[in-house]
């Protein structure tokens, strides 16, 4: 058997060897392309970003037929942060990329990796509020895409009407409303969702309270960044943790808060199983995508503080487009940025995507017929009662806040303890950033 190897066997052996060697060399090679009239843009995979960027890309390609805009997606969350950092560090970033503004941008070391846009003429129409969120020192790095986002409480309009409740302007009034809802039975006053991948929703009581903190302590953000003020020793700042503890202890939370997910929380709010859901207004995009008519059943108010006369809203900035230094064809990338920072840019966004808040570009108008929650959001902007969230005023944000607030909401940790624990948590990040005073 061994002395006379059959030809098929030998052929098979040779074929295996050749195949193995050959496969290593074949395979389709696809490299990054540059300078051929194609503009590559990396963005996160959320539907909202995708639709906004697609609208901008389509409108731009219509106006400039010789340019092709290609969108590439990446995951969001911490995995997305890793990808953006990796690709910036290895010089592999596409011509432009979409990313968060605020403290996440600071973590990219923008001075070393991004192009400063402060001197560009089209940046003049970008509002100063937004520029503050995408600046490091004197340099400005980003052009806004999308709408302003408010942090506060989404509530069920039908339930408010049925019980004859009014929008609360102080924390006590909010708690009184909760009490009335609980006494009426049938619905949970406050929805909390600590289930799979939804722990971030627990932070709203703390993060969306920043307007009230700043109302009491105008220098809070600077002092916090300089390690002079802390959550534990600033009563106004610790109030966010206390509020969360209060609603938990009063039994206002939905029974299944520990396992409910963000999507299920939104569904429960729409269905009236819960009345209040502390949330960012970009949740309206998700609600509309799942059930377009449900958006009209919801209202919005800012997280109330102590002063009824000064009831204002904490705002979040939308993400922005950034220009990496590694981009070879800077001019065509800047031409696209100029388009985004123009009224044509925001008209393109308005035409294709439902508006959930005002734009950060001067001269951009919001249509008249917006859902009630968006109108309520707009009223805070019209009255000038807004302040940015802490993450846009200070680069310091601890990574464990969501775990800490889940503990407070679940009654595992007291508010005082949580505030001091969070002060410890931010210390690590401040030291990593090399800030002075830590």
């Amino acid at each position: 058997m061994f002395s006379k190897p059959s030809t098929p066997r030998r052929a098979a052996a040779t074929a295996t060897a050749v195949l193995t060697a050959g496969l290593a060399l074949t395979g389709c090679s696809t490299g990054g392309d540059d300078g051929d009239g194609t503009l590559n843009i990396l963005m996160d995979n959320s539907e909202a970003t995708g639709r906004l960027m697609q609208a901008l890309a389509d409108a731009y390609m219509e106006a400039n037929p010789d340019v092709k805009v290609e969108l590439e997606i990446r995951p969001g969350g911490s995995e997305g942060d890793n990808i953006v950092k990796t690709r910036l560090q290895t010089g592999d970033m596409p011509d432009l990329f979409f990313y968060n503004s605020g403290s996440l941008l600071q973590a990219l070391a923008p001075g070393q990796t991004l192009v400063d846009l402060a001197g560009e003429p089209y940046m003049d129409v970008v509002t100063d509020t937004f520029k503050e969120g995408v600046s490091a020192g004197d340099a400005v790095y980003g052009v806004p895409v999308g709408h302003a986002i408010g942090g506060g409480v989404l509530y069920n309009l039908a339930a408010y009407e049925e019980l004859g409740l009014e929008v609360p302007t102080t924390w006590d009034a909010f708690m009184a409303n909760n009490r009335a809802i609980l006494d009426a039975g049938g619905a949970a006053p406050v929805i909390q969702t600590y289930g799979t991948e939804s722990a971030w929703t627990s932070q709203l009581f703390v993060l969306a309270d920043n307007y009230n903190v700043l109302a009491a302590e105008p220098d809070w953000a600077e002092e916090f960044t300089a390690n002079e003020a802390h959550f534990a020793d600033t009563p106004a700042a610790a109030a966010g943790f206390e509020h969360l503890q209060e609603v938990g202890e009063a039994g206002f939370l939905n029974e299944d808060f520990a396992s409910l997910t963000y999507n299920e929380g939104l569904a429960a709010l729409v269905a009236g199983e819960g009345v209040h859901y502390p949330m960012l207004t970009n949740a309206l995009t998700e609600i509309e995508a799942t059930d377009p008519e449900a958006v009209d059943d919801l209202g919005f108010f800012a997280l109330p503080g102590t002063d009824a006369a000064n009831h204002g809203m904490t705002t979040w900035l939308p993400g922005a487009l950034y220009l990496p230094q590694s981009t070879e064809d800077q001019d065509s990338a800047k031409d696209f940025l100029a388009f985004v920072a123009s009224t044509e840019g925001c008209d393109a966004q308005t035409a294709d995507v439902s508006v959930i808040g005002p734009y950060f570009i001067e001269g951009c108008a919001v249509p008249e017929d917006v859902p009630p929650a968006v109108a309520q959001l707009q009223s805070y902007f019209d009255a000038g009662l807004t302040a940015p969230a802490l993450e846009f005023l200070s680069p310091v944000k601890g990574p464990a806040l969501e775990q800490i607030t889940v503990e407070v909401g679940s009654g595992i940790r007291t508010a005082d303890d949580a505030a001091s624990l969070y002060d410890e948590d931010v210390k690590k990040q401040a030291q990593q950033l090399g800030l002075e005073g830590w």
Binding site: F2, S3, P5, R9, R10, A13, T16, A17, L19, T20, L23, A24, L25, T26, G27, C28, S29, T30, G31, G32, D44, N45, S46, E47, A48, E70, L71, E72, I73, R74, P75, G76, G77, E79, G80, N82, I83, T86, R87, Q89, T90, D92, Y262, N263, E264, A267, N282, A283, T285, E286, A289, T290, D291
Partner: protein, 277 residues
């Protein structure tokens, strides 16, 4: 006599019922969710859809992002076939030599193989190496990475299995005049068949399901592998559960077919390789 047989039948039926529940119920959930419209799927109930949207969902998933899924299937197939083929042949050679010819370097080589299992890969330095070699953003670069990460496990598998092949066979072949290459490819490799099947199955599933490596080492929409298409429908804030599950369903089918065909060989290969060290 009939008593123990009856008991055996009963426990067998129970085992079948339990495995049916464990494997078929999640699969039924995937199929049901993949057939729902978006608002119904967001509830994630285990229920029949009120209207079946399986065809619409199928089209939506296939057409998403300019037919990305089809390109991804091509990429994943090339990646899996190529990397597993290289892995198996190289590992069989290494395992055979290490088992047959122990010398004073063997402990060091063993340590290196183990290191391949233990030491985690670092992303940025690996990208630097790939960029230096001109292999970054190419499918063959990723194939080499998959081979590097899977090789250690395969070597261990092949070395253990080679011990079960009598050395006399090698000697007989050599007496008959076979050189080293012919000895390996015509005598030893056919005898390794069951462990080859095991290695192929285990590594195919691992490479096909790999998410992290394609994500970092092969960026770009045109380079996507099937696992990356899941991110078309799932994001931090919004998820299209019906399309996500349809995508999962489509991705699950190739490995499922492989298991159905090679089921017996996998079990045989795994157990026979495990007997001797």
């Amino acid at each position: 006599m009939s008593r123990p047989r009856a008991a055996g039948t009963v426990s067998g039926l129970i085992a079948i019922a339990v495995s049916a529940v464990v494997f078929l119920v999640p699969f039924a959930f995937i199929v049901l969710t993949a057939s729902k419209n978006r608002s119904e799927s967001a509830l994630r109930d285990f229920s029949l859809p009120t209207e079946w949207a399986i065809w619409e969902n199928f089209l939506a998933v296939v057409q998403a992002r300019d037919y990305m899924l089809l390109a991804a299937f091509v990429n994943s197939t090339i990646l899996t076939v190529a990397s597993v083929a290289i892995m198996v042949v190289l590992a069989a050679m290494v395992g055979y030599v290490m088992q047959r010819r122990p010398n004073r370097w063997t402990p060091l080589l063993n340590a290196l193989v183990l290191a391949g299992l233990i030491i985690p890969p670092a992303v940025v330095p690996t990208i630097w190496v790939l960029q230096g070699l001109g292999l970054f953003r190419t499918l063959h670069g990723l194939i080499l990475i998959e081979v590097a990460f899977g090789l250690s496990f395969c070597v261990l598998l092949f070395r253990a299995f080679t011990a079960t092949i009598p050395r006399e066979l090698d000697e007989a072949a050599m007496i008959d005049g076979a050189g080293p290459v012919r000895l390996f490819f015509q005598v030893v490799l056919p005898l390794l068949r069951s462990v080859i099947v095991t290695a192929v199955i285990v590594q195919s599933v691992a490479v096909f399901n790999d998410f992290q490596n394609p994500l970092y080492f092969l960026p770009g929409d045109s380079n996507a592998t099937v696992q990356l298409t899941l991110y078309n429908f799932r994001s931090q804030y919004t998820t299209q559960w019906n399309l996500l599950f349809m995508d999962i369903l489509l991705i699950t089918i190739p490995p499922l077919i492989m298991y159905a065909f090679f089921n017996r060989q996998i079990v045989a290969g795994l157990t026979s390789g495990a007997v001797k060290g």
